[in-house]
C-alpha cells in the first residue's frame, strides 16, 4: 500500500486535477460554448502561484526534515519547512479573482462567436499568453520559475486540498445542472435563438459559464504549480486544451460526471499501460509492445472509445432527477 501511494501519489493528484480541468472545460460547454481557454487560465493560475510563492512571499527553505508515515511505513521525506497552506489558499483566491476578471474581459467580446470560431479565438488567447509568458522576465522566460515551495511533505499530501476541491466543484456543477441557471445553459447549448426567445439573457449566461470554468482552471493551476514544483510556458498549451476536450467528450459531455470520469480515466491510461508492461510473466514481445507502443495503444483506445461510447462513458439518463421523475406520475394520479 505504501509503495502504491508513493509511486502513484503524484499520479493520483494529477488525475484529480485533470478531472477538474475537464470540468472547467465542461462548464462553458454546458452553455454550448466550445472554448479551449481553460489551459490559458490554468497557466495563469500556475504563474500566480509561482510568482507569489517564490518572489512575493519571502520563503526560505532551510534544512529541516519531515517524515511522513503511514503506519510503520515511511512514505516520504521532505527537507525544508513546509509552505503554509493558508498562503496556498490565498494564492488560489488571487488566481480565481484574476481569472474571473480576465474571463469577463475576454468573454464579453469573444462569446459572441459560435462553435469553431470561438474555439479558435480561445486558442489564439492561449497562444498569445504562451508567447508573452515565454518572453517576460517576470515569468522566468523559457526556463520558467522553479523551486516552488511545497506545502505538503509528500505528493499525496496534496490530496488534502485536491479532494475537497474536486468534491466541491463536482457538487457545484451537479447542483448547477439541476437549477434554473443550469437549464438556461442547456437551452443555449441546444438553440441560442429559441433560448433568447424564452427570455434567457445569452450574453450573461455565456459569460457566467465561461467565467466559472476560468476560475476553476485558474485554481487548479495554483495547485499544479506547487505540485510539479516548477512552472513554465509549456504548461497549459493548446495541446493540453485538446486533451481536456478529449477528457470531456470521452467521459460524456452531458453530465458533470462525464468530464470527471473522463479526466481520471484518460489521464491515468498512459500510466496504466506503463504499469501493465511491468506485470511479470507477460510474454516478452507483449511487454515490449506495451512499453514501446504505449502511446500507440493510447491512440487506439481513444479511437475505440469514441466508437464504442459515442455518447461518452457516462450518459445522463443513468442519473435522472428524482423529483422531476415523480411529478408527472403524481399529476396523472390526481
Amino acid at each position: 500500500m505504501a509503495v502504491f501511494f508513493a509511486t502513484y501519489g503524484s499520479l493520483i493528484v494529477a488525475m484529480l486535477l485533470a478531472a477538474m480541468l475537464a470540468l472547467s472545460l465542461y462548464l462553458p460547454l454546458l452553455a454550448g460554448q466550445l472554448s479551449l481557454a481553460s489551459p490559458g487560465f490554468y497557466a495563469l493560475g500556475g504563474y500566480v502561484a509561482a510568482i507569489i510563492s517564490t518572489r512575493v512571499v519571502p520563503f526560505d527553505s532551510g534544512a529541516q526534515a519531515y517524515i511522513w508515515r503511514m503506519g510503520t511505513h515511511e512514505v516520504a521525506r521532505f527537507s525544508g519547512p513546509l509552505y503554509p497552506v493558508s498562503l496556498l489558499i490565498v494564492e488560489m483566491l488571487v488566481a480565481g479573482v484574476l481569472s474571473a476578471v480576465l474571463a469577463i474581459v475576454l468573454g464579453l467580446p469573444a462569446l459572441r462567436l459560435r462553435g469553431i470560431y470561438l474555439l479558435l479565438a480561445t486558442i489564439a488567447f492561449v497562444q498569445i499568453l504562451q508567447v508573452v509568458t515565454q518572453v517576460l522576465d517576470l515569468t522566468g522566460g523559457a526556463i520558467g520559475i522553479f523551486n516552488i515551495p511545497q506545502p505538503f511533505a509528500s505528493q499525496l499530501g496534496y490530496a488534502w486540498v485536491v479532494v475537497p476541491l474536486l468534491l466541491l466543484s463536482a457538487g457545484f456543477v451537479y447542483r448547477l445542472e439541476r437549477i434554473r441557471i443550469g437549464r438556461a445553459f442547456t437551452a443555449i447549448r441546444e438553440d441560442e435563438l429559441a433560448a433568447a426567445a424564452m427570455g434567457i439573457n445569452l450574453a450573461y449566461h455565456k459569460v457566467l459559464a465561461f467565467t466559472m470554468g476560468a476560475v476553476l482552471a485558474g485554481i487548479v493551476g495554483v495547485i499544479s504549480a506547487h505540485s510539479i514544483n516548477t512552472w513554465n510556458s509549456r504548461q497549459g498549451t493548446f495541446d493540453a486544451g485538446i486533451t481536456y476536450l478529449a477528457f470531456v467528450l470521452i467521459g460524456g459531455s452531458r453530465t458533470f460526471l462525464g468530464p470527471i470520469i473522463g479526466g481520471i480515466v484518460l489521464y491515468a491510461l498512459p500510466e496504466v499501460l506503463r504499469g501493465l508492461a511491468a506485470i511479470p510473466g507477460l510474454p516478452l514481445a507483449l511487454a515490449q509492445l506495451l512499453k514501446d507502443g504505449r502511446l500507440i495503444m493510447y491512440g487506439l483506445l481513444l479511437v475505440l472509445g469514441t466508437i464504442f461510447f459515442p455518447q461518452g462513458l457516462i450518459r445522463p439518463n443513468l442519473f435522472r432527477h428524482r423529483t422531476v421523475e415523480a411529478t408527472p406520475r403524481k399529476i396523472e394520479q390526481q
Binding site: 489564439a124 508567447v131 502511446l295 469514441t306 459515442p310
Partner: protein, 295 residues
C-alpha cells in the same frame, strides 16, 4: 497549402481533422522513402531503404496518393463508425486525435524520431533564391517557397472549381449540411465522403512532401507543428473557404513579416492577435460572406 486539405474536410464535414497533420507527415515520409533514401538510425526499419529510386517530383505525387489511401483507411475505421452511430459531431475530433497519436507513434516506432531530408536539389538546377528587392533593399525569396506557393494556387483553383461548379461538389456541400436529406436525393454520402478524405489526404500528403523539401522533415511531429498555424490560416481565410485559405496564409505571413525586429519575440503573439481580432471583426473570414440565418 497545408490549410487547403484541412479546409476541404472542414468545409465538407464541418469537423476538424487532427489526423490531417499526421497525414501531412506521412506524405513527407512516403515521399522520402520513395526517393529511395535510407531510414536512419532508430526504430524497426533502421538503415533500410526501398529498392526504388523515384525522382523527387514523381515520388511526391505517389507519396501523396499513398497519403490519400491512408486517409481513406482512417475514414473507414475512425470516422464512419461514428457517423453511423450518430455520435456527437465533436467526438470525431477526439477520434481523429487518437488517429494522429497512433500515426505519429507508429512512425517513431518504425523509423525513429530523427529528422530527414530529401536528396539534394529536388528541383533540379534552379537557383536557390530569387531576389525581388530593388537596389540595396533585398527581398530574396527562396525558390522552394515560390514552387509551393504556385502549387497551392493551382490546387486551390482546381478544388474551388470542383466544389462550386460541379455536381459532385454541390452534392458534397449538401452532405455537409444534412446527410440524411442528401441521401434522400440519391447522393451516396459514404462514397463521396471517402472521396473527400482521399483528396484531402492527397493534398495533405503533397504539401507534406513539398514543405519537406523546403525544411527538413523534423521527425514524426513534423505535421503537428504545422497544425495550429494551419488552423489559424483557415480562420483568416474564412472557414471552409478554399481560396480564403490561401489568402489567409499570405496575410498571416505578411503580418508576421512586418513585426519590427525588436519585437520579433512577440511574432507569434502578433499572428494570433491578428487572428483574434479577425474573429471578432470578420468571423466570416477575409473573403467570406456573412451567413444569414432565418427563423
Amino acid at each position: 497549402m497545408f490549410a487547403v486539405g484541412y479546409t476541404l474536410i472542414f468545409s465538407i464535414l464541418r469537423i476538424i481533422n487532427f489526423a490531417h497533420a499526421a497525414i501531412f507527415t506521412l506524405g513527407a515520409y512516403f515521399t522520402y522513402a520513395l526517393t529511395g533514401s535510407a531510414f536512419g538510425y532508430n526504430g524497426l526499419l533502421k538503415n533500410s531503404a526501398l529498392p526504388i529510386h523515384l525522382p523527387f517530383l514523381l515520388a511526391a505525387v505517389v507519396g501523396a496518393m499513398l497519403a490519400g489511401l491512408v486517409a481513406i483507411v482512417i475514414e473507414r475505421l475512425a470516422f464512419r463508425p461514428l457517423r453511423n452511430r450518430g455520435a456527437d459531431p465533436l467526438l470525431s475530433l477526439v477520434s481523429s486525435l487518437g488517429v494522429a497519436v497512433v500515426i505519429v507513434n507508429v512512425i517513431q516506432y518504425l523509423v525513429g524520431a530523427e529528422n530527414y531530408s530529401y536528396p539534394a536539389q529536388p528541383y533540379g538546377n534552379l537557383p536557390t533564391a530569387i531576389n525581388f528587392g530593388l537596389g540595396s533593399q533585398r527581398i530574396p525569396v527562396r525558390t522552394v517557397q515560390i514552387v509551393i506557393f504556385g502549387v497551392s494556387v493551382v490546387i486551390m483553383l482546381l478544388l474551388t472549381y470542383w466544389l462550386n461548379r460541379t455536381k459532385t461538389g454541390k452534392a458534397l456541400r449538401a452532405i455537409a449540411e444534412d446527410a440524411t436529406t442528401a441521401s434522400l436525393l440519391g447522393i451516396n454520402t459514404d462514397q463521396l465522403i471517402l472521396l473527400t478524405f482521399f483528396l484531402s489526404g492527397m493534398v495533405g500528403g503533397l504539401s507534406g512532401a513539398l514543405i519537406g523539401s523546403s525544411v527538413s522533415i523534423a521527425g514524426p511531429y513534423f505535421g503537428i507543428s504545422f497544425g495550429l498555424r494551419g488552423l489559424a490560416v483557415i480562420v483568416l481565410g474564412g472557414l471552409g473557404d478554399i481560396p480564403g485559405a490561401i489568402v489567409g496564409g499570405v496575410v498571416l505571413g505578411l503580418a508576421e513579416a512586418f513585426v519590427p525586429v525588436q519585437y520579433i519575440a512577440y511574432k507569434d503573439a502578433v499572428a494570433f492577435a491578428v487572428l483574434f481580432l479577425m474573429l471578432l471583426l470578420r468571423p466570416q473570414g477575409l473573403l467570406g460572406r456573412a451567413e444569414l440565418q432565418k427563423v
